[in-house]
Amino acid sequence: MKTATINTDTSTLSENGIQFPSKVMLDLHNLKKVYPTPKGDYVVLEDLNLQIMKEEFVTIIGHSGCGKTTMLSMIAGLNPISGGNIAVLGNPVKGPGPDRGVIFQAPSLMPWMTALENVLLGVNQVFPHASKKERKDIAKYYLHKVGLDGSFDKKAIALSQGMQQRVGIARAFAIKPKVLLLDEPFGMLDSLTRGELQDILIEIWNKEKITAVMITHDVDEAIFLADRVVMMTSGPSAKIGDILNIDFERPRTRKSVLEHDDYYKYRKHLIEFLEH
């Protein structure tokens, strides 16, 4: 069980830049994002500070347009930083890279490739020295883990939205990233499929323990998956509003979570934050 609070581990870098053993995986320091507009600068994020520990699963919740996705794409390196800094294990983020796997809101598979080829695209890139068979085995292993045993050679376009997102999950895990970034990955799915995919995600995550940051709109999803739920204030100049520790034991099942005494307490806390 994790009782991660922000203050257990303050700094990853000393003054002279030597790195100390640290539990912090991802460090956002005074992060700022400004979009210039004809009417002057529009500040999306300001003074955003957040530290995410190794092997921690953090969900981020907040109103639409508050800058959650902006923050995530800045961590991914797809969106330039306007001020402050982001560091992964003490190394500042300078651009996108496979150490930060991303699961996008749309599955974003290459429609002309098969499921296997889509996963291999990343695996080939990250394990260039492995033999062809080894790389195939890695890709197949993760496709098996997301329950796509029979669909290796199906074209991505022939898969349902839910199956496509499963491939997206396999692709992200298969490149063994240090941090996994999930941008509302189940937002476009119906609630039944969403539940299935949450189970699959948490099952693989339990095994791999990759530090994960996930954006969601769904309060139940946020509680079920996370060690900590980060609540963001509404923009402009959004920052961290509140952080809620979810002290359920892992591995969790949906049933055990729903029946836990604290569940409705957490849920009430989150909804109250969102309603203000």
Binding site: M110, M113, I157
Partner: protein, 368 residues
């Protein structure tokens, strides 16, 4: 049952979806809705063909009568009543020398079509005979290091069709080889795109005739000291240059408008520039590239006729022009035959491209 499914799939893929009612009627048990479908999709279009032929027949009869009356009245005014009566009798008898020269009727066109086929048979037989006759002599000539004697007789209508197809494919390949690589390069770079845009915008609307003249100026000089077939070279290069713009513009557009999600995936995976182009950008722009190639082929076929006509290059274009100059009694109907053949071949070429386009397109809803 399985057979009919695959048959339907093939016709669908080739854009011959309209044949589905027929295949449905003759494979498996016909249902009531199959019969209704058959009536709707086969009988009604057939009626439209009959209507077309009827209007054509009526129109050509009216034109024929007008031309005939004019001739009779002219004879009356110039030479008096006897000459007019003679002219009327001559026209009614179907005598070739006094037939009015106007739009031919469908039956005349059909007759000319058969004449052209007969003509082709005669010429082919002639060619074969010539080949047999000269076979021994040619062997000797080749052995002696001389050029073999080739058949120099008049080409038949069918030969002209194949010459035209050869020219159009040469032009199409030229367009493909030029336009696709340039389109990819331009599509990848905003700077190049904006700096070469003026060139594309200015040259795209230039008429085929002007392209022909430009190519003529250059090729004439380049082939001065070789005995290559410069008429063919000029016409296929002009066809290529006229028709390549659609492919160029579509390729550049396809490459520059690749889905941002795919680009983000490529960025996250840190794909190298080559991999990015060949694994992400090109496959995702293939449907648009093929749309461009399809337009290119149909434009190539359309301008080919005009270019052959002007470049004195053999083919359907010069066939039409020669018939027009010829002014024989069946020249007009031969021109109409050529018109139908040109249209049908253009349609078939378009269907072939559509089939290829549907095969490479990952999004099955694209391309109609």
């Amino acid at each position: 049952m399985k057979q009919s499914i695959t048959l339907n799939k093939i016709t669908q893929l080739m854009g011959f979806g309209f044949l589905k009612p027929i295949t449905a009627l003759f494979t498996g048990k016909p249902q009531k809705e199959d019969i209704v479908n058959f009536l709707k999709k086969i009988i009604v279009p057939l009626l439209s063909i009959l209507l077309f032929l009827g209007v054509w027949q009526g129109g050509s009869t009216a034109l024929f009568n007008k031309e005939a009356n004019f001739k009779i009245e002219k004879a009356l005014a110039d030479q008096g009543q006897a000459a007019a009566d003679e002219m009327r009798a001559c026209i009614a008898s179907g005598e070739i020398s006094c037939q009015p020269n106007t739009l031919p009727s469908p039956s005349q066109v059909w007759a000319s079509f058969k004449t052209l086929l007969e003509d082709h048979k005669v010429i082919s037989a002639d060619k074969l005979a010539f080949k047999e006759k000269t076979a021994v002599m040619n062997e000797k000539r080749i052995a002696a290091g001389k050029e073999p004697i080739t058949y120099t007789g008049r080409p038949s209508f069918v030969d002209q069709i194949f010459t035209s197809l050869k020219t159009v494919f040469a032009g199409f390949l030229l367009a493909l080889v030029i336009a696709v690589p340039i389109g990819v390069v331009i599509g990848l770079s905003t700077t190049l795109r904006s700096s070469f845009n003026w060139l594309i915008q200015i040259f795209k609307p230039v008429s085929p005739v002007v392209w022909l003249l430009l190519v003529f100026m250059i090729v004439k000089t380049l082939t001065k000291d070789s005995n290559s077939d410069s008429a063919f070279i000029i016409s296929f290069i002009s066809v290529g240059l006229c028709s390549m713009w659609a492919t160029l513009v579509n390729t550049a557009m396809g490459v520059s408008s690749v889905d941002k999600d795919y680009i983000n995936v490529a960025k996250v995976l840190k794909l190298g520039p080559m991999q990015k182009v060949f694994k992400v950008i090109l496959p995702s722009s293939l449907p648009l590239i093929f749309t461009g190639l399809r337009i290119t082929l149909s434009v190539a076929w359309m301008v080919l006729i005009a270019i052959e006509l002007l470049a004195q290059s053999p083919g359907l274009g010069s066939f039409v022009w020669e018939e027009f100059q010829n002014g024989a009694i069946d020249s007009n109907s031969k021109i109409i035959v050529a018109m139908f053949i040109i249209g049908i071949i253009g349609f078939l070429l378009d269907r072939i491209m559509l089939t290829i386009q549907n095969m490479v397109s990952f999004n099955k809803n694209e391309g109609v």
